[in-house]
Amino acid sequence: MSALLREMGERALQLGVPFSAQLDLTYRCNEQCVHCYLDHDDHGEMTTAEIKRLLKEMAEAGVFILTFSGGEIFLRKDFFEILECARSLTFCIKLKTNAVLIREAQAARLRDLVVESIQISIYSHRPEVHDAITKVPGSLRRSIDAIRFLKSQGLKVILANVLMTENMQDYHGVRALADELGAEYTLDPTITPKMDGDRSILDLNAGETALRHLFRDELLVGNADEFCAPPPVRQEHDGQAHSAESMDSLPCSAGHTACYVSPYGEFYPCVQFPLSCGNVRQQRFIDIWRNSEQLKEVRSIRLRDMSSCSQCAHGSTCTRCPGLAFMEGNMRGPSTADCEKSHARTGIPSANLLAKKESRSMPRLVQIQIVPAITGSRLSGIAAHQSL
């Protein structure tokens, strides 16, 4: 991010402007990725007219950076009509796609409509690995062809490499592929729960050993010793693990300058933060942004409000995702996936991981067989112990 863009983000924060937004146009997809968090059935997507009205409201509210994502955006037959509308409203437009449906003609139209960048999911440089993740034979070939079409039109392409157990060894290959194609490269080693709360896909997350190797790869992180340095120990003796400035810092831009709207019009702080704040089919975008009680609560949270993280050595340097914390059950709590990353990076366990370890090492309570003579109040007591 450029210094000017960062400065504008800070200005937007001061002004209370939703500077960036992601709009998912559909959850339908022509790939069936093993790690995907979405329900791909269509439960009533917004119509073209509804989306155009929403885009106008977003522009009026001050949204500058608009990301269209999905699902697969090119499955919407009105996609280019929507894109033309967004162009006329002078958004800075970014796309996220698997690019399988992009051929020469689509690439030329994207150039004409001045799309800022196109982020394309690539899991491996090896077809047998990529196609096994997407469950679509030939999908890597199609995506690579599309990248060549886009590059031939002078467009900026970013290869997004989500890492999981299946493809952990292939990121060097994907990075080399990006170089060969003249594309940028970004990597994300986090698999998130499904939007309905199902956490079964978390088993695909790369383990701690793999993450440790990743974080020490100087081709990715630069100076590994610097990147993996333990968090600074605070010298002051005011009983706080972090400075006052850090304790008052914001967790991330979700709900502060950024937001997300689903294909059904649901408004969330972020795509990874499934706390419904309203629906743009019933309310104006700006009214939700300004008046939603849920957003106000998200905006009120500071590091000092997080009982575990505020006491954690990683508190001010952690990449904690409030959305993942919310999905764990508490938006003021830790995000274990980020605790594990901080641990893998520095070797120092977070306060949350230590607490989990401690609770695991406590002597297990013996389950007591309930006998008929025990009264109701005693039953409650046993039930409480059993749930510990």
Binding site: S2, M8, V114
Partner: protein
């Protein structure tokens, strides 16, 4: 420059008012700019149909209390600079069909607030 000039907003930019500043991203290499108040006035008035001289007389001179000749000279230089960055189109003829973009989060009839 002695000929009449016309200016239009490029259809290949992203733009948004952020507080009192106009934020513009050029399609050329995704370069980001903020326009100063004079450039913002010029950019907003760049409809492709109104001669630059008229824009300067109506908007710049009244807003900034400068002499027309000096203002026009500065405006021409500014317009050229913005054109070099792909933000404005300049022509000696009216530029038809421009602008193709809408300035969504500002009121066209509202007085432009500027400070010198």
């Amino acid at each position: 420059m002695s000929k009449k000039l016309y200016i239009a907003r490029s259809p290949r930019i992203a733009a948004r008012m952020l507080g009192e500043e106009m934020l513009v991203m050029s399609g050329q290499g995704s370069t980001l700019f903020t326009l100063n108040p004079t450039a913002t006035v010029l950019w907003r008035a760049a409809d492709g149909a109104t001669p630059l001289e008229e824009i300067v007389g109506r908007r710049i001179c009244t807003e900034f209390e400068v002499q027309p000749e000096e203002a026009l000279r500065d405006a021409e230089a500014l317009a050229e600079d913005l054109a070099n960055h792909g933000i404005l189109l300049i022509s000696e003829e009216p530029i038809s069909g421009q602008p193709t973009t809408q300035e969504a989060n500002s009121k066209p009839d509202a007085p432009v607030q500027v400070t010198r």
